[in-house]
């Protein structure tokens, strides 16, 4: 069992991890959730949980960043995040009504992605943002490969339908 010195070192190590990884995690959270506020909420919630058991997380493998990203994907599809916490990690424009607020507002594919159910969206992000295989996605989300395959298939069909001829090259 680590003593106080070990605990302090773990806290400092976690703080350093947060400093280095926060920009990338916020960006990843943005892709997962579809909006910056939910992204900040998701990142903060997952990091607080992971940080509360940082030594155990380090013991799970050599890549805590991958672990955090998997946790975010799961957290995104979890229905337990039904409230939005006070944001402490991201800086937003003063007004949500600012025309710059959603900088991807006019991106058709982004808008279509936002309409996907959370699990389908997570599968798409894990596949195309992280470049994971079906087996890796299944392990990450705790589902079968069959579920990944069907969720991905539904998501891609929905995206194609929403984008019409654009996605099929009939632009």
């Amino acid at each position: 069992m680590a003593g106080l010195g070990g605990e302090r070192a773990a806290v400092e190590d976690f703080a350093e991890f947060v400093r280095v990884s926060l920009p990338g995690l916020l960006r990843y959270g943005h892709a997962l959730t579809g909006n910056p506020h939910d992204a900040a909420d998701l990142v903060q919630g997952v990091l607080e949980k992971v940080g509360s058991r940082w030594q155990a997380v380090l013991g799970k493998g050599p890549d805590p960043l991958a672990y955090v990203r998997r946790s975010m994907a799961n957290g995104h599809v979890s229905r337990w995040r039904r409230f939005r916490r006070e944001n402490l990690v991201a800086e937003f424009p003063d007004s949500a009504a600012s025309p710059q607020f959603d900088r991807l507002e006019h991106e058709p594919l982004w808008q279509a992605m936002r309409e996907l159910p959370p699990r389908q969206r997570a599968v798409v992000v894990l596949r195309f943002y992280e470049g994971l295989s079906e087996a890796e996605i299944a392990a990450s989300l705790g589902v079968t490969k069959g579920t990944v395959k069907s969720q991905n298939s539904k998501a891609m069909a929905t995206l194609r339908a929403k984008l019409g001829g654009f996605a099929d090259g009939r632009e």
Partner: protein, 238 residues
């Protein structure tokens, strides 16, 4: 240009960047300490929780659907006591009268310790979830994702019902959204279906998952999965 390429281009877009707030790292570290303290308090109170579930005897699950009395047409969610193994062995296809404050299906109930759950012989270990909880599969639900989830602190936090099982209000896989709304009028709609939360005899909920590829659900859509879950943030309950 195909959709795969478009998605990769979208995820490389610099407009996905979000500016980090000054002092964010310290805020997260402070939050992590708070979560750790809370978890340690919960762990020390875990035994108390189990006792509370046992002494809340005599509370009928049938009452959670809004007071409507309805005879289940098939296997029921029942309140079996761990002290009566002979009764537990009776077929779950036969309706059983609730006899204690435990909430579950067959031999499994919410809040049950991992050791007790494994002792039922029903569970096959799966992977850990990202929050350190343990996922188990069972023979009755081979194709369902994360059918049973067990928290090291709170015990069994999720039980997914077999397709043929009905809740005490008669809802099973295949029921329509209209059925759910009629029998659980207080159920809340969310993007994956409907949830019905109760404090009886402790905070837990039903999830009626309606996988139709959309975030909204029509009255004729059908329930694809029924789950019972503790209302806890302990595990990554997707």
């Amino acid at each position: 240009m195909d959709l795969d390429d478009e998605l990769r281009r979208l995820f490389r877009d610099e407009r996905l960047d979000i500016q980090v707030r000054s002092g964010a790292d310290q805020a997260v570290v402070t939050g992590a300490r708070r979560v750790r303290r809370k978890r340690m308090m919960l762990a020390s109170a875990g035994g108390t929780f189990a006792v509370a579930a046992l002494v809340a005897g005599g509370i009928a699950l049938a009452g959670v659907g809004g007071g409507v009395s309805m005879e289940p047409a098939g296997p029921v969610l029942t309140t079996t006591t761990s002290s009566r193994p002979a009764q537990e062995e009776s077929s779950p296809k036969n309706p059983q009268a609730p006899t204690s404050g435990q909430v579950g299906y067959g031999k499994l109930h919410l809040g049950m310790s991992e050791a007790d759950a494994l002792a039922t012989g029903l569970l096959t270990p799966g992977p850990d979830d990202p929050d350190g909880c343990h996922i188990y599969f069972s023979d009755t639900q081979p194709n369902i994702s994360t059918p049973v989830v067990i928290s090291p602190v709170k015990g069994v936090v999720r039980i997914t019902l077999p397709d043929y099982a009905k809740t005490s209000m008669g809802i099973s896989v295949g029921a329509t959204v209209a059925d759910v709304k009629m029998r659980y009028p207080a159920a809340v709609e969310y993007d994956e279906g409907f949830s019905f939360t109760t404090d009886n005899p402790f905070p837990w909920l039903y999830q009626f998952i309606v996988e139709n590829g959309r975030k909204t659900h029509s009255l004729t859509d059908r329930v694809t999965t029924v789950r019972m879950q503790l209302t806890t943030a302990e595990c990554a309950l997707t």
